[in-house]
């Protein structure tokens, strides 16, 4: 059976199961006699076993089975011993390794040694192997029950009431195989061309072929078949079946249904006439995402509305009716905003998807360092774009590792907390450990030649703390195996900034440490503020704009060589964006438009020529050589075709403070 198309699904689902197992084992370590926990863990191992076995991943299946056996023993004895916890975690590590092998297309690593090793619960487990399985461990898997709209996505004529038309096309879940359903609806729908190949060496191919045809009859109406049933009965080779099926099911559902049948080696399902792209499993990258079907329905509806809206716009344009055009454009905007919102939702995943391995990490680190560390995770449900979560996983591990290794002294709590703030997702890692002393950091920074003594003295504590994010910085007195606080912080910082986010560090002696990541919710489509500067239009992500204002030249004061602005009793440095970019600029006069942004936790005013307004734009990444300049993070095309660079004040100013002082304007 060709299972390769399910590989992606297998990998992502198994990953989730392993994360759940990790969580359950750690919970059982605290509460070893939790029967429900043991049952749940058993079910997880059982699921992994079943999936791996059906994929033909022998070692994985064997190992999962082995763990399942141990757990069955636990169900009998009613508890999980401490030694078994370690054993299970060891097994889990091995399973994770196997999954890595499979993801990398390598042969599975050897599990024989683990399987033959004495197990802490051996006697009970051996007896338990013959115990009945919890019925809860069984869940439907083989029948495609995912209802989704038929692929004939014709535009609904009335945008206000498109639901009934589409709802009609949602097929009933396939009837259980035990019931011979001969629904009259089964024949309606699209016509699919199927090619089914039986496995080489299949026993009784004729009987198998007839069974497959019978099963297909439950999915729809068979239009023809080659060879015919009669030919199969008379001994015609039935190793390869070609047929047409009229069905209300999607090609993917049919494909899945057939692929799970016994002895089917290969199945190909092609819709007749149309070239329908099936939503899952065709990814070259092997990435899959599960999408709620109601969301898919919503897409169809919105697409229908867009099409309708387009025709109404065309009509309004033909009739040269400006008022119709305007109102229709507004309607168009609403639909697009709605579509955007829903598309983003597909990409959104809870933070939970990357915090799964943290409990285990903290446990192991605490054990190794002999500390008592409690991990609290708050706000796991906060959702972020998949791409951001993927990039965030490693930095988060770094931060938590640092907190345990270097924040906590003997015992303490590490908290990972997430919440939403306007268009940003905030993720912070807190510890209630010894904290960092700005004085120590100043001294170390000078010792390491990162800053001069005078510079160090002149820096505010807040800026001093950011020095730990310089490559190679460490404040740990003794460099441990994972090295001191600071190693990896430069990686964390650049990862966060790469995502368009900001990292903030807050700490003090005895106050613990707080690492805050302010992240955008999405990457591709963002809101920008358009500004004009020396005759050029530039964009700045609104997440980087604290406020905009116009100040009178007379309100701008001088402090030494620095121009400053009074904002809420604070003197905020005022810089000319033209100057920073190396563009010609006239001295301030009259009313000066200012964008207030934040750089390293400090407010900075950027004087521009004009504030144009906000736009929602699709950001394109810059390629070489344009990506060489840290200040320009991307570009977008405006409605009139102009290309606008998107600049990041923080990058821009850090670049400027650094040794490389090349003006960005030359590149743009």
């Amino acid at each position: 059976m060709d299972m390769s198309k399910y590989r992606g699904m297998f990998l992502s689902e198994t990953k989730e199961h392993l994360a759940t197992m990790s969580r359950l084992i750690l919970a059982l370590e605290k509460n070893p006699a939790d029967a429900e926990g043991i049952d749940a863990l058993f079910r997880e191992a059982h699921s992994v076993k079943g999936m791996a076995a059906s994929m033909g991943y022998q070692a994985t299946a064997k190992l999962a089975h082995h763990l399942e056996d141990q757990l069955d023993g636990c169900r009998k004895s009613g508890s999980v011993s401490a030694s078994l916890t370690d054993f299970l975690l060891g097994g889990l590590d091995l399973l994770e390794g196997l999954l890595e092998d499979l993801a990398a297309d390598r042969p599975e690593r050897d599990v024989a040694a683990f399987l033959s090793a004495a197990t802490p619960a051996a006697p009970a487990a051996a007896a338990a192997a013959k115990k009945p399985v919890n019925p809860a461990a069984i869940r439907p898997v083989s029948r495609p029950t995912l209802p989704s709209p038929a692929p004939t996505a014709a535009a609904p004529s009335a945008p206000s009431a498109p639901t009934p038309e589409i709802a009609l096309k949602v097929p009933e879940p396939a009837p259980p195989a035990a019931v011979v359903a001969d629904s009259p609806e089964a024949g309606s729908g699209v016509v699919l061309r199927l090619t089914i190949e039986l496995a080489v060496g299949v026993a009784a191919p004729a009987a198998r072929a007839l069974l497959i045809l019978k099963a297909l009859d439950r999915l729809g109406r068979r239009l023809d078949c080659e060879p015919t049933e009669a030919q199969i009965r008379q001994g015609e080779s039935a190793h390869r079946l070609k047929l047409r099926l009229q069905t209300a099911q999607t090609p993917l559902e049919v494909e899945r249904g057939v692929a799970t049948m016994t002895d089917v080696a290969r199945v190909e399902v092609i819709p007749e006439e149309t070239r329908e792209v099936t939503p899952i499993g065709r990814g070259e990258s092997g990435r899959t995402v599960r999408v709620r079907t109601d969301l898919l329905d919503r897409f169809i509806n919105l697409t229908g509305e867009l099409i309708t809206s387009r025709y109404m716009l065309q009509t309004a344009a033909q009739q040269a009716s400006w008022s119709d055009l305007r109102s229709q454009l507004e309607q168009h905007n609403r639909v697009i905003a709605d579509l955007h919102h829903h598309v983003l939702q597909v990409r959104m995943m809870p933070l939970e998807s990357i915090t799964g391995r943290l409990p285990r990490l903290v446990r192991d680190l605490a054990r190794r360092t002999g500390k008592e560390v409690e991990l609290q995770i708050v706000g796991e449900g906060v959702e972020l774009d998949r791409a951001i979560l993927e990039e965030l996983a490693d930095p988060l591990v770094h931060l938590v590792r640092n907190a345990v290794d270097h924040g906590i002294e003997k015992c303490g709590t590490v908290t990972v907390r997430a919440w939403r703030e306007k268009d940003l997702a905030m993720v912070e890692v807190l510890d209630n450990g010894r904290g960092m002393d700005p004085e120590t950091i100043r001294r170390k920074a000078v010792e390491r030649g990162l800053v001069s003594e005078a510079q160090a003295r002149g820096m505010r504590d807040r800026d001093v703390l950011m020095l730990v994010c310089k490559p190679g910085f460490s404040t740990a007195a003794a460099i441990t195996e994972t090295s001191g606080r600071g190693v990896g912080m430069d990686v964390v910082k650049s990862a966060v900034e790469h995502l368009g986010g900001v990292l903030e560090v807050d700490s003090g002696p005895g106050r613990g440490t707080r690492m805050l990541m302010k992240l955008p919710l999405s990457v591709a489509i963002i809101k920008i503020l358009l500004i004009e500067c020396a005759g050029r239009t530039l964009g700045m992500p609104v997440t980087r704009v604290l406020r905009t204002l116009e100040v009178d030249r007379n309100e701008v004061q001088s402090s030494g060589r620095q121009l400053v602005l009074r904002l809420d009793q604070e003197a905020v440095p005022l810089l000319s964006l033209s100057k920073i970019l190396g563009l010609p600029g006239a001295p301030f006069s009259g009313s000066v438009p200012v964008v207030v942004s934040e750089v390293r936790g400090r407010r900075v005013g950027l004087a521009v020529d004009r504030l144009v307004g906000q736009r929602e734009v699709f950001v394109k990444a810059l390629n070489y050589p344009l990506d060489r300049h840290a200040g320009a993070t991307g570009a977008t095309v405006l409605g009139d075709g102009r290309v606008v660079f998107i600049i990041d004040p923080q990058h821009l100013l850090e670049e400027r403070r650094g040794s490389r002082l090349r003006p960005a304007g030359e590149k743009a």
């Binding site: 192997a129 009945p132 919890n134 898997v141 259980p176 195989a177 035990a178 009987a207 007839l210 049948m261």
Partner: protein, 123 residues
């Protein structure tokens, strides 16, 4: 609720083996029969969700038992058990309403996969 299985085979060894496979796989083996006649009687009283039926058996054969059981309940879910080289008999059984077949020697995953699919449950 666990799916209920009736195992029919004249060899005790095969019955035991199937019993273990089904038990491990989360099924409840509600009964066993050693020949076709007993199979029909047991089916009558137990009304199982699934019957595994050996083709070659003493007294009443598997094929005859299949016909009789299908007469009692046309919706009966019957899986034929057979050794290699009995293609014709299997084909006849499928025509007669058997839902699937398994070939000896039994491979646990395959047996369970078939049984689970027929009973609408998954591993």
């Amino acid at each position: 609720m666990k799916p209920r299985v009736l195992i029919v085979d004249d060899a005790l060894f095969m019955r035991n083996m199937l019993r273990d496979i089904f038990t491990r796989g989360g099924f409840e083996v509600v009964g066993e029969a050693g020949d076709g006649e007993e199979a029909v009687t047991r089916f009558q009283e137990l009304r199982p969700d699934l019957v595994t039926l050996d083709i070659v058996m003493p007294k009443v054969s598997g094929l005859q038992a299949l016909v009789q059981i299908m007469a009692i309940d046309p919706e009966a879910c019957i899986v034929m058990c057979s050794a290699l080289g009995q293609e014709a008999l299997i084909l006849e059984a499928v025509e007669g309403g058997a839902r699937d077949f398994i070939i000896k020697p039994f491979r646990e995953p395959q047996v369970l996969a078939i049984a689970q699919r027929l009973c609408g449950v998954g591993a």
